[in-house]
């Protein structure tokens, strides 16, 4: 492949001049510029990003370590991250951790070795020494969706508190009293928060969240299936299962279907994370929707701010409830719930599909 030297030779100038043309340095004569450009064209020269990165110590690349690519939520996140990064002149290398801390470490190490300019992480666990070291060493980093407490890194995430309250209000309004939850890994912030939010919302209605109604999942479909089977085997099974991510909801649906039970007649189902498919499942699933695209874009902006020397703040965007049929009752007018926290009315707008 042609190098800058070849171009210089062909154009009859020095490599310095070629480099200046390539970087639009002002101090180049029109004549020289034209000759260089011609040479570039005729040789089909393309700048070697590797050499350039070595010299400038910038790769114009962002690393994104995601918990699970097969999860549509993260896929959408990845997509918006790439789009925004591209708009800002960066490329993105995606690492799929598959909810495994060891894989997460593998990718972080790999990305660091490649000298990416900054790292976007949705941590699978409480943070390995490797990641903490990277933060300490000053690697620009931003957490998305999940984060690691006590680490000085901006966090871009959705706040589901109000939406979970709306969900509980909705469920309570439909007459449900025995509500169960499929939790995510305790090592993840989202895993914990969602359970806490759910429990508190229940308390507000004088309801309890007994231990047997808390199933330990891992954000994967199989665990949703397993936990749901456990619920169904209980002497007094719950009336509602709330899966804290979309894959576990899918697993729950599997398990329920396998027993020959119907949703929502025999048992209701709700999920955290809304995805296009939820409109088409049988029945359509009531879910808490995150502003995924917005999150991805905000995360990239924060990271790039950090890379370019500014000091970004954490960003928290609200999630919202999308009511469908999986909890009983056709989706229709709010019928604002009765008792306690009447703040934040349930939003029922259709699922957004376009992007801003």
């Amino acid at each position: 492949m042609a190098s800058i030297k070849d171009v210089a030779g062909q154009a009859g100038v020095s490599v310095a001049t070629v480099s200046r043309v390539l970087n639009d340095h002002p101090s180049v004569s029109a004549d020289a510029r034209a000759r260089v450009l011609a040479a570039v064209e005729s040789l089909g020269y393309r700048r070697n990003a590797v050499a350039r990165s070595l010299r400038t110590d910038q790769t114009h690349t962002l690393g994104l370590v995601i918990s699970d690519v097969m999860n549509p939520y993260f896929t959408e996140l990845a997509r918006s991250v790439e789009e925004e990064a591209r708009a800002l002149g960066y490329s993105v290398i995606i690492g799929n951790a598959d909810e495994r801390p060891d894989l997460q470490d593998h990718h972080v190490r790999n990305l660091l070795d490649r000298r990416i300019d900054g790292l976007l992480v949705s941590p699978t666990d409480g943070g390995s020494p490797l990641m903490l070291d990277a933060v300490r060493a000053g690697t620009p980093m931003v957490f998305v969706d999940r984060w690691i407490p006590g680490v000085e890194v901006p966090v871009v995430r959705a706040d589901g508190l109000a939406a979970v309250r709306d969900l509980v209000a909705h469920l309570h309004g439909l007459g449900h009293r025995r509500l169960a939850i499929i939790a995510g890994p305790a090592a993840t912030t989202t895993g914990q928060e969602r359970v806490t939010a759910f429990r508190e919302a229940l308390h507000a209605y004088g309801l309890d969240l007994p231990e047997v109604y808390i199933g330990q999942g891992d954000f994967q479909a199989a665990s949703g299936r397993r936990v749901t089977e456990g619920f169904l085997d209980l002497p007094e099974p719950p009336e509602v299962v709330f899966a804290t991510d979309n894959l576990m909801a899918l697993g729950a649906l599997d398990a329920i279907r396998a027993r020959g039970l119907r949703v929502p007649e025999d048992i209701a189902l709700a999920a955290f994370d809304d995805i296009p498919w939820f409109v088409h499942t049988d029945p359509p699933i009531t879910a808490i929707a995150q502003p995924t695209g917005e999150l991805g874009r905000a995360a990239v902006r924060a990271l790039v701010d950090r890379i370019e020397g500014r000091t970004p703040e954490s960003v928290t965007l609200p999630a919202r409830l999308v009511v469908r049929r999986s909890c009983g009752e056709p989706a229709e007018p709010p019928a604002s719930p009765e008792p306690p926290p009447a703040q934040s009315p349930a939003v029922r707008s259709p699922v957004r599909r376009s992007q801003p």
Copy 2:
């Protein structure tokens, strides 16, 4: 960040020796090796992949340019590609072309600039000059799923011919006679092939595929919706809609639902590409399943073969029909179809997992 020089200083040896230790060159005394390793440890040294790549002219990175990340089929493909690549010591940079030739070019250019060792592409169109140049210049390349005719590049793909025949047999057996298809872009091989296969299979049953029953889609959900609406507006609407990818099937389902029609009672639906969600839609969708994971792995192996100097062959794996309820009739025993081409009985075996 510590460099090899720092390590050399700390260990009291030359950089050459450090490099030898790092690359396990045999000619290093146990003593020197130990001192280097200790220095590496104490400095937390990590090899700079950028510098290394510049010198060795290898990045140990594969580029994957995919037509659409939001399509679960491609997501799964990407995942398996990354897994196999990792197993072989390569990283993967994914570029999402979003079915847009310009974006595809952007990514190819970017990846080439980054001097990736090889490129995996599922082309969005007939091939831009850029891509053809790259091939001519000797960039190791492999096409996955789709390909560009006339270009000397190995292709790893699924053959849906037999499965499409099985599908038509199934539909015919259910009494359907007016079958329509939502085609993909004519610029893609898969877009054309699937229509051709469908038409021929229909012919075998003495059926015709009239122009009005061929809708032009673009592999995105919106086009599936639009085309399906067109079909439903016809004086004589089809009895079956066959969407040639899963997103267009989703769009078709949308459109059908929006008219208040039922699947399969009012109109049947089938799709190319099977995805986990099809089990849970209402009704579960009959689809042609590709051995996606296997395709991804085979593609990586072929590409790495090519990179390491061997000369890989193209690989074609069979797709298979998965019957569900969306075409009528509960899914049950094959009930081998009656009339013509009795060859290639519907394959219902589990997905093959072994490699050639």
